[in-house]
Subunit: 337 residues, 4 copies
């Protein structure tokens, strides 16, 4: 049994981790922390029967668990990562604090200096389909962002194969409201979000662009110039990224299809749809799947659609998948395939 | 042209008033007040092209308009009512402050003393189908609550006819989230309300019971004992009240039907459905309608369903209907029939 | 490993069974039948990666599995039950064909004679919290209806204790649209159901009343007279039943609470909420839970709220729970607790 | 008073016309036709109090009205247009049959020959912001498609100004389910569409591309190559088109903004948002507005967002606006500004 702790357990990603652990035969829950609800039982915070008492992060002993999941805001997470690592415990950090390799990139996109730039090189970017071997050995795992997971899985095979003929990548993403977290705002007030669709931070402004560019550039054929437009959907869960790209003449749809089939052969959670089918949220919600479809607009121009559940493959499910890899377990434990 | 002012214009009822005035050929807009958004244009607060600049209530001159609509919280509204009346301007108060005739009832349900009990007798309860003549002359109009509008219109004919055989009235109501206002809360956070249904304040706790009992008792056959269970629906608008009552043996469904047809004959906004049809939110949303259906469970037991749009017939539309009556206009102006 | 077959696998209950089996460590899938989609792969019918080829019921060999799940319409299921039983295979029938003990009741509520009245006495009503011992030995299990599951679990302790002072039970239920199945109708067309709430078959008309009365009468204190009003909610899943009952003077809320705690002590899926909390769909959706809350209106009058996911505890999850009991497994396998 | 008839009154566009006429002071309703519901009252078909009796198209006299609105499928509409024109009555055709000027284009996109190619040149494309003068004199008005209305209004100023540096235009559109009509399909079944997002007909397949290319090419700077990806949103109403374009270096965002302000100055229904604001469905739903926002990704690359209510500005509202122009009325009558 692996003993786990959740730091910041009362947001949606913390809640999703707990659900996953309930299904997981090899996990034993240590502590769940919350600053807002310290001393309360989990069932008082969420409509569920989980009865763990929430403790403050201060009073949780990181050394008492094998791995700690950090569900904290970026900028705050970094200090907790240090503390947990100091206790010798492995960390899966769901914040953005260790996803970028370069402190300069972090500074540029997050508008403040990284306070532990020296630790950036220790962190492994936790996308199992790309970095499985490093993940197995990681002590500090940076769990990828939700949008980047959908975009990188959706475009990386093309980048790696050098198939893209235009460095301009246009990504139109749509996300469920849970991606905005459990904090209150007018944007996520039911009456404002329901029956609505709102673009936000469109163009070249959203911080997740940094992860997309880092990982696609690392795959090859770049540097790429991502245009990224997130839209807030009136649904609870799910991200669909519709991506417009141009490929070299030799890359027919059939050949691209084969490329993706090979890239994801054996992957338990990535599914490339047959030609003619398109990825939807219904394919992925409440599962750890990423479902990808490939369409040709005209020769040399493709549309890649990539769907994930933002709380599962886009956050907590991927974190559990990473934990399974880190501890040598079947990758699928605790997850819906 | 009637010159109107809106005090508290940036909640959902204020917004709905503005929409109605845009359609109304006899209304000229004076001031719109807001404390949170003073100095901003209305289009910065709501996704719409209305360009009025919001002023503080302090700086609005109540004497500059023919009628002021007050969209303020109960307990706060009472002072503004005094101020507007002191300027000689007629008031349509959308709060609960002047709906109850007895200060003791107010104290009981609102947990604090009414600060102007002497003014309670001046106020007219603004349900046009019952008090049209008094409304025409009213200077201080208390616009009814949303749930009470659906319940009183749905049950009053039976009470007035002395048809009810059991004083126990069971009301199971379902409301859209806009009924909870534009203030932020976890309950109305999209992720919490969406795909959910939550009962709240069920039994004999919700303040709107006081209006229901006052008005049904006034109609006759009481005193009644209302059991009232509101539920929060994952929709933006609409109230459906499903009401379980017992009637005296002589009241066949056909006879009850006739009673309702007569009670609402000529009413522009109340529709009694033919037997076999049931009231739904789709009948009423975005209109000032109240739609009522009558069903027999078994001889002597009926189910009355009554539907309204909580923001229109349940609030701002009814307020405009009342204004039309107060100023001798066609009752339907500015409203969707 | 238990080998299972699904007859009628392409409705929502069949789909939910498949999802459960994917999580179940002791189940091996035999056949999945479909008449509409014979020869297609499951992934062509639902947005999922399940790759079973659908066969016609005709060509499936019931003798090749340990248990067959029947997801067929009532009236049709009965013949298939006979065929499967003739092969010696145990049956879990999700239709209504074997839920009622009396052929006369079946005839009354379903408007046609039961074609195998002699088999009715063999069937066990599959509500584990009541009939666990009989279920363990059952060869023909009648899986309860969705509304009855919520109502019986919600009211049975009161009936059994003889606590109800009035035989009239008022049940106001709200259900998600998946309860209406995958067949097309104007009622379940997105535009008609969305942002709407529709009562239907209210009063004493819905067939599920027969199960509620049968089981509550069997518990004691009856015969009861159920008034039942289902409403179609604009959500995919979930049933909330709000039930209005009167109890004898000695039954204080605290005592009723204790009664329920005892009645469901040790039950893995039934949760009685602490006083002051109310059951919601959020408590149960995507799980096999039934969550019950108890509220006092005034001394002697209670409101019981009971929530389930109509596709899980209201159908396929309960069927899997029954299978687990029938085969001596941990009741929770394949289910979300 | 203008006397109007609706042919095909029981779809969503017919229903929306009726709602608009209820608000319109200068319209008198002649006939409403329906083949499926002949002889029934309108209130039996839609949840509303409209009491017109539906007649078959056969029995309606087109000569008895001043203008007939045709809400029929393409391919079917053309014959009815002929019949109404033969009676000397003006026609507003909401189908696609007369939107394209070239019979060859029609054949290419609709896969069958146009049966009255000679009439194509008589038809006026009913986009008031472009063709107001021709509309005023039109006897045969082709009301634009919903997606094209959002796209043409969103991009035409750039095309007309010769500002686009790349003929490739990428349009990612999201539409509410009412755009798919009232006919039943699995795609529009509540359970399948709710909490989902589905791309469909993406790339260069959707018939509405023909209108977009025709009108943008006519504006100048083309020919353009539209890539168009519609997505089905889980909302009842609204279209948001997110459009990715490249402009010549001299077209700064500020200059483009000025261009749009001038292009739509005085237009009662088109609103260009100030910089920093983005168009959403909330801006337009239940109104005849088109709301446009302009964003710069990087110098030379823009994102134009354009929102309309697909049933209003995208169909029936625009049809009423066109009628108002055709009959010399205030363009805003019967419409929500």
């Amino acid at each position: 049994m692996i003993k786990v702790g959740i730091i910041g357990a009362t947001g949606y990603t913390g809640n999703e981790l707990l659900k996953s652990f309930t299904l997981h035969p090899e996990v034993e829950l240590g502590f769940c922390t919350s600053e807002s609800y310290t001393g309360q039982r989990y069932s008082e915070v969420f409509a569920c029967p989980y009865d763990q008492t929430l403790v403050s992060a201060e009073s949780a002993d990181p050394g008492s668990v094998d791995v700690a999941f950090l569900c904290l805001p970026h900028g705050v997470s970094v200090d907790m990562v240090k503390r947990v690592r100091a206790a010798g415990t492995r960390v899966i950090d769901l914040s953005a604090d260790f996803r970028l390799h370069e402190a300069a990139d972090y500074q540029r996109w997050y508008n403040h200096d990284h306070t532990e730039p020296g630790m950036l090189s220790e962190a492994v970017f936790g996308l199992p389909e790309v970095y499985r071997d490093q993940i197995a050995k990681a002590d500090l795992l940076a769990n990828p962002g939700c949008f980047p997971t959908s975009v990188i899985l959706g475009l990386r095979p093309l980048a790696e194969a050098g198939a893209l003929s235009d460095r301009r990548l246009i990504v139109d993403s749509k996300t469920g409201v849970s991606g905005a977290g459990r904090g209150l705002s007018l944007t996520t007030h039911f009456v404002e979000a329901n029956e609505n669709l709102s673009p936000y931070n469109i163009g070249y402004r959203h911080r997740h662009i940094s992860e997309m560019e880092q990982e696609l550039n690392a795959a090859g054929g770049g540097p790429y110039e991502v245009t990224f437009s997130p839209h807030l959907l009136p649904v609870t869960r799910g991200i669909l990224s519709t991506m417009y790209v141009w490929v070299k003449p030799e890359w027919s749809l059939a050949r691209v299809h084969e490329l993706y089939e090979q890239a994801y052969a054996g992957e338990p959670f990535v599914h490339v749809l047959p030609e003619g089918k398109l990825a939807t949220l219904a394919h992925v919600n409440y599962t750890n799947r990423c479902v990808i479809s490939l369409s040709e607009v005209r020769p040399g121009q493709l549309i890649v659609c990539s769907a994930i559940d933002n709380l599962v493959k886009g956050a907590s499910g991927q974190a559990v998948q990473n934990m399974n890899i880190m501890f040598g377990l079947d990758e699928r434990l605790g997850l819906i395939v």
